[in-house]
């Protein structure tokens, strides 16, 4: 009934262009069968012992039906020549549809369904091999409340980090060694260091990294910055 099958490996799917807007004239007398096979996912057997009975093959939106046998094969009977969209439906799994064209001489061609580029032909093997694309996700995953989500929220970090500095830095100042160190740094930077607010406004105005002369402060700043980054990276 059907043409000697031309099996083309999936990886080498051929692309050809054809005028598809011309429907083939159907010859009422000749009837053809579309054949194919459904390849279940490996976890089919465990979840659905009876997936064959729950899987339906619809041709042209249910105009013609196919039922799946135990081995996964299906045949849709009694089709006149024409172009058909073959869809496989299962409540748990999603399958990609295929378009099967039967010309008046009884030659079969199967290709991918592309509603946007109707003239594009990507041939798929016939008899059809319908593989499950994956489990259908019907449900949204509920958002779970996690402490990390809250902590890494930029807003929260914006509030927490300065607080941390306010609380921690003065403590560090009390330490005599650090105090000395700080004083040193400040002495060194005394001449270069302009008014802090000036620097900030300059910094904002230029929208670039601070210039060379504020190296020291910048060193400190970038240290803090790196700290922030590290937290975010976590």
């Amino acid at each position: 009934m059907y043409s000697p099958f031309f099996l083309i490996p999936l990886a080498l799917s051929l692309t050809a262009h054809a005028e598809t807007s011309v429907e083939e004239e159907s010859d009422e007398n000749n009837r053809y069968n579309i054949e194919g096979r459904i390849f279940p996912l490996s976890d089919y057997q465990t979840t659905q012992t009876n997936w064959q009975a729950n899987t339906k093959v619809h041709v042209n939106g249910g105009e013609h039906l196919g039922f799946v046998k135990r081995d996964g094969s299906f045949v849709v009977h009694n089709l006149p020549a024409g172009s058909y969209v073959v869809e496989v439906f299962n409540p748990e799994y999603t399958f990609e549809p295929a378009r099967v064209e039967i010309n008046s001489k009884g030659k079969f061609r199967a290709r991918k369904v592309n509603h946007i580029r109707t003239s594009e032909v990507i041939v798929v093997p016939y008899p059809l091999r319908m593989k499950a694309l994956g489990k259908t996700r019907y449900f949204q995953v509920r958002e779970q409340w996690r402490i990390t989500d809250l902590l890494f929220n930029p807003m929260v970090m914006m509030m927490v980090l300065p607080l941390l500095f306010i609380m921690v830095l003065p403590k560090m100042m009390n330490d005599p060694d650090t105090k000395k160190e700080m004083e040193q740094i400040q002495n060194m930077a005394k001449f270069e260091l302009p008014e802090m607010s000036d620097m900030v406004s300059n910094f904002l105005a230029s929208s670039t990294m601070p210039s060379e002369k504020t190296e020291k402060t910048q060193g400190m700043a970038s240290k803090k910055n790196a700290k922030t980054r590290k937290r975010i990276d976590k």
Partner: protein, 228 residues
């Protein structure tokens, strides 16, 4: 009032113009207009005039209507005063000789108030067959009966509009494919550039930094003073 009338006119014409370009059919129709000037359950229609549309595509029409006789004028005024309907029957004869009859009605008071300035909307289907002839009076509001001086109810100033069936929209796949193609090309060239400004990108790091700096500068003064 004048503003809205002209707007109405312009709109009807514009519809015509934009679709006359790709119309495949053409033909002429003649419309025999009859009207009922007495409000009855089973009205009797009397001749009002003839409309010939020479070309459906261009929408050109010649209108041939007699002025109303004084008796008819009285009847029409009566109809308007009692807030009845002014009904018309249009018998349309197409090129191929086929005939169709249509009915339409407007509020008589509205017709009288507009001083017999009415519009005939001739709707045609995708093949150029007439499917509806409707009479309308351009107005922003309706009335519940009106008395209009007789001398204003004499001559119909009818305009005829041929209204074509627009070709329906087609899914615009071509531009979408182009868009996808462009995006693909852009991707091949490299990552899509983020052209937000530096501040917009990193504000969440900058702001705490600034705050910290401000805070530390505020706590520093005594330290600075101490060192001096």
């Amino acid at each position: 009032m004048i503003y809205c009338l002209s707007a109405f006119l312009v709109l009807l014409l514009s519809v015509q113009k934009s679709y006359s370009g790709n119309i495949e059919y053409d033909g002429s129709v003649t419309i025999r207009l009859q009207h009922a000037l007495v409000a009855l359950e089973d009205p009797t229609f009397t001749e009002r005039g003839n409309v010939t549309i020479q070309s459906l595509r261009l929408g050109q029409a010649t209108i041939n209507q007699k002025p109303l006789s004084s008796e008819e004028q009285l009847q029409l005024r009566d109809l308007a005063a009692k807030n009845n309907f002014y009904q018309i029957k249009s018998i349309v004869t197409a090129n191929d000789g086929s005939q169709k009859t249509f009915l339409s009605a407007v509020k008589a008071c509205m017709l009288a108030e507009s001083e017999l300035d009415d519009r005939l909307s001739v709707s045609i289907d995708y093949m150029g067959r007439v499917i509806a002839v409707a009479l309308i009076v351009a107005s922003k509001s309706t009335c519940e009966g009106a008395v209009v001086p007789l001398e204003k109810l004499k001559h119909f100033t009818t305009s005829v509009y041929v209204r074509h069936t627009e070709p329906g929209p087609i899914p615009d796949t071509a531009s979408y494919i182009q868009k996808l193609e462009r995006e693909r090309e852009a991707k091949e060239k490299g990552e899509v550039k983020d052209n937000r400004s530096f501040l917009a990108k990193y504000w969440m790091y900058i702001v705490p930094l600034v705050i910290v700096m401000v805070v530390s500068s505020a706590t520093n003064p005594d330290a600075q003073q101490g060192s001096q």
